[in-house]
Symmetry: C2
Subunit: 445 residues, 2 copies
């Protein structure tokens, strides 16, 4: 494999010493071999990416997205979580065919990679999980994904999404065997029970056991909305996170999206078990869910990361938007010095890497780690003359400032153009498939 | 003057009927002559701007910015309002020379115009107000600005910013005569007492009288922060807005920035007097000020608009960022159906136009109005396949999606390039001047 040399930027390493370097970042065979200083190519073939005026940062990591939902962008505004699921998102997911799923995931990958996100923890829907992996592989994204599991018989759930407990588990195991650690490790499987309300206790318990036996991650939603929490408590007699803890769905291998409403006792469970929390500020605002107490979770030592959630509840898949919001949103309550820019950038890099179980491989720019890098232009009219790169990255830069994106040493975006997919085709295909899907949704609604 | 024809987009007119049109938007001699349908050029010379895949919208209006502060972007993070003013913004403003002011305003204009903002209500600093107008005129921005007034002897205020009451008023009158309605009406003067705490009662009262006699606007800050409000109450025995009302600083010709903390009685004063409120959500979050009760103000019928405030407290001057935040921020408290996208776009167009006293001239695309237009690409990977243009504009689009910007019938941005200023020069000059200014700030601090 050719070498890739990123030249001339300010290197924001996000290593444990918060080192800032200048000079080159070099990848060989997908691995970072030098960070800072002048790199002398070792191979015959090499590629130089210009980073003049840019920050060179670890590829951004989002620990909660739904790439399968991208075709529903702009179709589900102004709804709360439970009606949003029942009236729009579930009928949409139930109407997806394999070809729609592929178009949805390709559109998501295009937006993610163009915006400097190199790795995601993704949740699929009940069907077509293989299409998610295949599309992510084609786009070059580092994706941990899994089939959604929802075996609780609820009248709200459309028939194509209703699952038998055994079948849901068996299909998940099968998909895990098929996709985990494929594409030279860029693809990984994570078990994905949707949330406590959509799953039986049996399913949750066996999921926890199976995931642990196989050494893969578990990804679910928790405590996003007060109606959801009240319903879990009514059914189980426990608070949501206490219930998840009882069935085995807490721990350093679990990532819980949202955690907007968490009691002090639940925060203590998260801390004790080292459970990862994915903060999704745009989504939590848009669905009217609330504002998670992230500074408190951070002070307690709960591992935190960021996610855009899905396009219908955001409506972007943009790590810069989520960083800026995570930095701003908590200041009125906790003071303007809370959630400083470096800490937020750490959530979006190291925090995400750890949530994916990849803290030793990605999330910082250090020799020996994988070559996941984003190069962000900080010499624009909207970011200069900020002299502090953390401030410029978190408060002023935009996804469209990403000049180059590298995943596992492969250049996937160069000079703001996606190299792995045909952008015009992604856009026209997504539009065509969205029209088809919503025609079907209309017929069954 | 040549004609400008914007061809092929979806026209989001923001007229009173919320009309959506397709076809052409045509300007002749700076005036909109046709909105929708096919326009046949009447002049020999005409220019066609391609709007395929775009929304054609009224130029965005920001009713509270400080273009003089742009060089301080990224220099004042993590501070509350009063220390932010005392420790950073005032020393910065006191250190500005004329050449720095020109660089700061040119940088602001570049960001604003590239991001589709065509008109602003701006607040200057004590000195160099002429440089603001001259730079805005050169850039082609529609700018209502004014010299800041601060004649209250406070030990915190640096000596170069301290003013004598008479001198402050006389200089304001002189600037008004010099600049109001210059540049074919694109430039207008507004009296700008900084805020209640920095001004004597005499100054506020004479300002109100003079502005009214001259028929120009008044622009000030109010009720941004609880310490500010407590101090006003201590000094005057009145709540902030009641005090402003008593000295004449309420009414349909007044725009108050922020109004984060407003009592029910004060809301009633705002409603009764038709005082305009400029909501600045990023700034209010970043300084930890709070979240204004905008849905309540809207329901009460208080005229609302949006502003980015200044670069050191945002850190952008981006109407799209403020729209998205205004739409999202109030949903947790007021429900996901509050602050729907069309209402927020109206704040950023009609609302801003009215705050500037230009509701009959800009803020919607209707024949007879001035040709202030932004063309926003909605066919990007991060905005498709949303079928509702309001949703796409408010929740998904970014400032960098602005393809063309037209002010008063003059094309100032074409294909994402600024035509009125040399972008590279604006950037290098801003960097150089910021270094100089902060070297001076460092010497006096």
């Amino acid at each position: 494999m050719a070498e890739v040399i990123i030249r001339g930027g300010t290197i924001v390493t996000m290593d444990p010493q918060w080192s800032l370097e200048t000079g080159d970042v070099a990848c060989r065979d997908g691995e970072l071999v030098q960070v800072g200083g002048r790199y002398v190519p070792q191979e015959h073939e090499y590629e130089i990416l210009d980073a003049e005026g840019c920050a060179v940062i670890p590829g951004l990591v989002q620990s909660h997205v739904h790439m399968c939902q991208t075709l529903a962008r702009g179709r589900a505004d102004d709804l709360e979580l439970l009606p949003w699921l029942r009236d729009l998102v579930w009928p949409y997911e139930a109407s997806l065919e394999a070809v729609d799923m592929a178009a949805s995931v390709r559109l998501a990958c295009a937006e993610l990679l163009l915006g400097g996100t190199t790795a995601v923890l993704d949740m699929g829907t009940v069907r077509h999980t293989g299409e998610i992996f295949a599309a992510a592989q084609g786009a070059g994204l580092r994706a941990t994904s899994g089939k959604v599991m929802m075996d609780e018989a609820t009248p709200d759930i459309p028939i194509p999404l209703r699952e038998d407990t055994r079948a849901s588990l068996d299909e998940s195991h099968q998909l895990r065997k098929e996709w985990h650690e494929r594409a030279a490790g860029r693809l990984r499987y994570a078990y994905a029970p949707r949330f406590a309300l959509s799953c039986t206790r049996d399913l949750l318990e066996e999921t926890a056991q199976s995931a642990r036996a196989a050494g893969v991650r578990i990804h679910t939603h928790a405590s996003e909305n007060q109606s959801e929490i009240a319903e879990v408590e009514r059914r189980t007699g426990l608070s949501n996170i206490a219930y998840l803890n009882e069935v085995g769905l807490t721990g350093g291998d679990v990532c819980l999206a949202h955690c907007v409403w968490v009691t002090e006792a639940e925060r203590e469970i998260l801390r004790e078990t080292g459970t990862h929390v994915s903060h999704c500020p745009s989504s939590n605002l848009k669905l009217g869910s609330g504002i998670a107490e992230v500074p408190e979770l951070m002070e307690a030592g709960v591992p935190l990361s960021l996610g855009a959630d899905g396009a219908p509840c955001n409506n972007n898949l943009d790590a810069f938007v989520e960083m800026r919001l995570a930095a701003l949103l908590h200041k009125p309550r906790r003071g303007p010095a809370s959630m400083r820019a470096p800490l937020v950038l750490r959530m979006a890099t190291q925090g995400g890497a750890r949530a994916l179980g990849l803290g030793d491989q990605i999330g910082s720019l250090e020799p020996g780690k994988r070559g996941d890098v984003a190069v962000v232009d900080l010499s624009t009219e909207h970011a200069i003359p900020a002299s502090n790169p953390y401030s410029a990255l978190v408060y002023a830069a935009r996804a469209s400032d990403v000049r180059h994106t590298v995943v596992d040493g492969e250049v996937v975006v160069r000079d703001r153009h996606l190299l792995t997919l045909d952008q015009a085709e992604v856009v026209s295909e997504a539009r065509a498939r969205a029209r088809e899907v919503f025609t079907r949704v209309g017929r069954t609604a």
